[in-house]
């Protein structure tokens, strides 16, 4: 057993107090579930002097809908996301993706906001949140801003937040009727595993015509990515099986994955095409299938 390095643990009871601490302390990290942070600390992959426990911040709890926007507080666990009727109704693609994260134990402890802030390129919730236009509400003593989820990713395991900033909630806009989204993951096995590639697609249809398309891929680059070229190819088109096949093949040359222990670059490229195609087909059916 290798003990964790020492640090000071702060337990603020209000958001204001937490933000003040984050602003004042030099080497500081917030902790919610801790399932990503603690292994990194144990491996000395990161060192911090101060940890701010945000569990006492009641304003960060709960899932609500306000003016059509689904708001998921930063302390919401992955299990709570999975079990939420509001998420099932308004953002079923997120539910689909979260079901793939970790084990029961990890989902009971880890949070959705943490899955994003940890900024793993393979984070399963990321592509799903990206295609439905999710944003993070980010607070610091300096003020509040909204950041699209894709912009929270700066590099592998690096988020774009200032050290004094805290994600307080994830905001998901209302999706129009006639739209649908889907998530697909390929791992080396079915249970608890990091993605070799994961993908999500969102389509909005007007009759047979696709009026909006968003596609995101994870575990394929330093951060999860959108595929604007493929998205553009879908827009304004009728999504025949041939059109879907052709444009999902285009992913092959658009991505530039790495070889690693989980898969070779070439395999990832092939699988990116397959997963995008599967996600598009499913999203298309959910959007009404062009009827």
């Amino acid at each position: 057993m290798r003990p964790l390095p020492g640090f000071n643990l702060h337990r603020p009871t209000s958001l204001g107090e937490a933000l003040e601490l984050m602003g004042a302390l030099k080497s500081v990290k917030p902790i919610a579930g801790g399932t990503d942070l603690l292994p990194l600390m144990r491996d000395r992959a990161i060192t911090v002097e101060d940890i701010v426990d945000i569990r006492g911040l009641h304003e960060l709890k709960g899932i609500t809908v306000e003016d059509g926007t689904l708001r998921i507080g930063a302390l919401t666990t992955l299990t709570e996301v999975l079990e939420s009727p509001l998420v099932a109704e308004k953002a079923s693609v997120l539910r689909e993706a979260v079901g793939h994260i970790g084990s029961v134990q990890t989902r009971n402890q880890g949070t959705l906001a943490g899955n994003i802030c940890n900024a793993s390129p393979a984070a399963d919730s990321a592509p799903a949140l990206m295609v439905i236009g999710a944003q993070a509400r980010v607070s610091s003593a300096r003020g509040v801003r909204r950041v699209p989820v894709e912009e929270l990713f700066a590099g592998p395991k690096m988020n774009s937040l200032g050290k004094d900033e805290l994600v307080t909630e994830i905001l998901i806009p209302e999706l129009p009727s006639g739209s649908g989204a889907a998530f697909e993951k390929l791992g080396r096995r079915r249970g608890i595993t990091l993605a070799v590639v994961n993908a999500a697609a969102y389509l909005a249809m007007d009759g047979k015509k696709c009026v909006d398309a968003r596609i995101a891929l994870g575990a394929i680059a330093a951060t999860p990515i959108r595929l604007p070229e493929v998205e553009a190819a879908y827009k304004g088109r009728e999504l025949t099986p041939e059109a879907i096949e052709e444009s999902s093949r285009a992913c092959y040359s658009l991505v530039n994955p790495v070889d690693d222990v989980r898969a070779s670059a070439d395999y990832r490229r092939e699988m990116a095409c397959v997963l995008v195609k599967r996600a598009i087909v499913k999203a298309h059916a959910r959007a009404g299938g062009g009827q």
Binding site: M1, R2, P3, L4, P5, G6, F7, N8, L9, R11, I31, G33, G34, T35, L38, P39, R42, I51, D53, R55, T79, G102, S103, V104, Q105, T106, N108, Q109, G191, I192
Partner: protein
Amino acid sequence: MMVDFVLNGRAVSCDAPANILLLDLLRSELGVLSVKRGCEQGECGACTVLLGGRPVNSCMILAARVEGRSVTTIEGLRDEPIMVALRKAFMEGGAVQCGFCTPGMLISAYALLRDNPSPTPHEAKTAIEGNICRCTGYALPLEAILKAAEMTPAE
């Protein structure tokens, strides 16, 4: 720092430095040895306990953060009808070999049957996906969980 929490239904109060994990507090300070130290990476589930009634890996939790919460291990579930049924089914079904994964697996199975008295085989599999077993190959533990579900009197 002092942590006050409820362990197996009893209030406890201990002094825990900030960097001590719940796993270590339970094993070294409180003598709860059913909670096993496996990977210490949140991967194997040998250290599973109920926190607020939900299975979590105690190696992924700072002890100081269970302040005010309730922690349950198999010691605290000894006489619970669901646990009695699980124990019987595990023993009679040969679902235990070396036994290292067993306490954690029983906690996960207990939480499953408490919330879902007649799980499907798939639901049972999902419930123990975070409990790695190097001996049994999972078939017998899964069978035992489903057997225990049949044995537990519906409330």
